[in-house]
Point group: C2
Chain length 190, copies 2
DNA sequence: GAAATCCTTTGTCATATGGCAAAAAGCCAA
DNA sequence: TTGGCTTTTTGCCATATGACAAAGGATTTC
């Protein structure tokens, strides 16, 4: 709970009354590995904060391959916010990569906060824009780098993740095959 | 002028008085090919709307190669908004790829709109979030596709651009070398 | 603890792309 | 038109990555 409040306070001020209000809208949610937080074809109904665990956003490309678009780890909000806000069906999956402990807002609770807390929307906008910028900054360099560099950068950015998730997820995130990634790891360790 | 107003109206309502106010904050700006709209190391001071022409966002990677991150064409706002808003030096260049006609807001004018027009910030937030999402959707698939597919998709998305800009820009956008792109074009045309 | 399942590594070969350099084509200015 | 500049194409070769298949390892399940 405090983790979440601290996170929000990075983006704007909230007085104790407001933080209390926020915490009343929260419920706990545990996801076990491989469970979906939200699914393509369904309208997202929740916004979550990750207390523990790793999730990933993924989809199926037109060759039917599963592609990991990004990973989201502890102390971040997770939501397909564009589709949540528009109240329309998502096109991607959000899946637990490890067992997860989340705090979730329902759509109603979330809307009430928007209507009650002055400045809430500002905070949310900042968070959304920040998250999008960050994703862009992470994805963009992938295009121009060779596979080894991508993997090394991935290691730098997610040192705590790499040993907790299947190699295939990382490979599809990096845009290479699993066997290539395996060979790359072999070369690096040498 | 009307182009810009129509663009804004997609994101929220504005009454005639408000649109008049907006238009008073605008000045014309012409950029000739290769001129910079904003530069890395300098704090962005303007937000522009593209009436005519194409710009690109680019930077130099750690190998010193110039990388085109994306293209922006007619009827869109252009600004390194993150750095504009934070009022800090940018890390990327925004450059005219063709001669351009722009409408620009100064920082002061832009802020006044924010202080005068109720709902202006909402419109801006939507635009920013939309733009970021779109960029993400364009960049993301690049990672998992082969070079030919990337080029074909690029052609689909920017059919009007490809003949107006140097091949090398497109190549760096697609994350391939110029000679590879040249060969790919040869194969396709056959 | 054995069987089944999943994940990772490895082998072999084909192919796409990069690096470098030169030639060709296109463009502009005097 | 000529000469100089930029852009694009092409050639040659090295190399990284992909495709496919099989073998090892690891982990889960009963």
């Amino acid at each position: 709970m405090e983790q979440l409040i601290n996170y929000l306070l990075q983006y704007g001020n909230l007085n104790p009354q407001q933080t209390k209000l926020i915490s009343h809208k929260l419920t706990d949610l545990e996801l076990s590995k491989d469970q979906y937080f939200s699914e393509a074809g369904k309208t997202p109904q929740q916004v979550a904060f990750i207390l523990e665990g790793i999730l990933r956003v993924c989809y199926y490309n037109n060759k039917g391959e599963e592609v990991t678009k990004y990973f989201i780890d502890e102390n971040q909000l997770v939501c397909d916010y564009r589709h949540f806000e528009a109240n329309i069906a998502a096109s991607e999956y959000i899946q637990a990569v490890t067992d997860c402990k989340l705090l979730v807002f329902s759509r109603e609770g979330w809307n009430e906060l928007s209507n009650t807390i002055v400045g809430w929307d500002d905070i949310v906008n900042k968070i959304v824009q920040n998250a999008l910028s960050q994703k862009l900054e992470r994805r963009s360099p992938l295009v121009e780098q060779d596979a080894t560099t991508r993997y090394l950068n991935f290691l730098e950015k997610f040192p705590q993740i790499v040993n907790r998730i299947p190699l295939s997820y990382v490979a599809s995130y990096l845009g290479i095959t699993q066997s290539s990634l395996s060979r790359i790891r072999k070369n690096i360790s040498r």
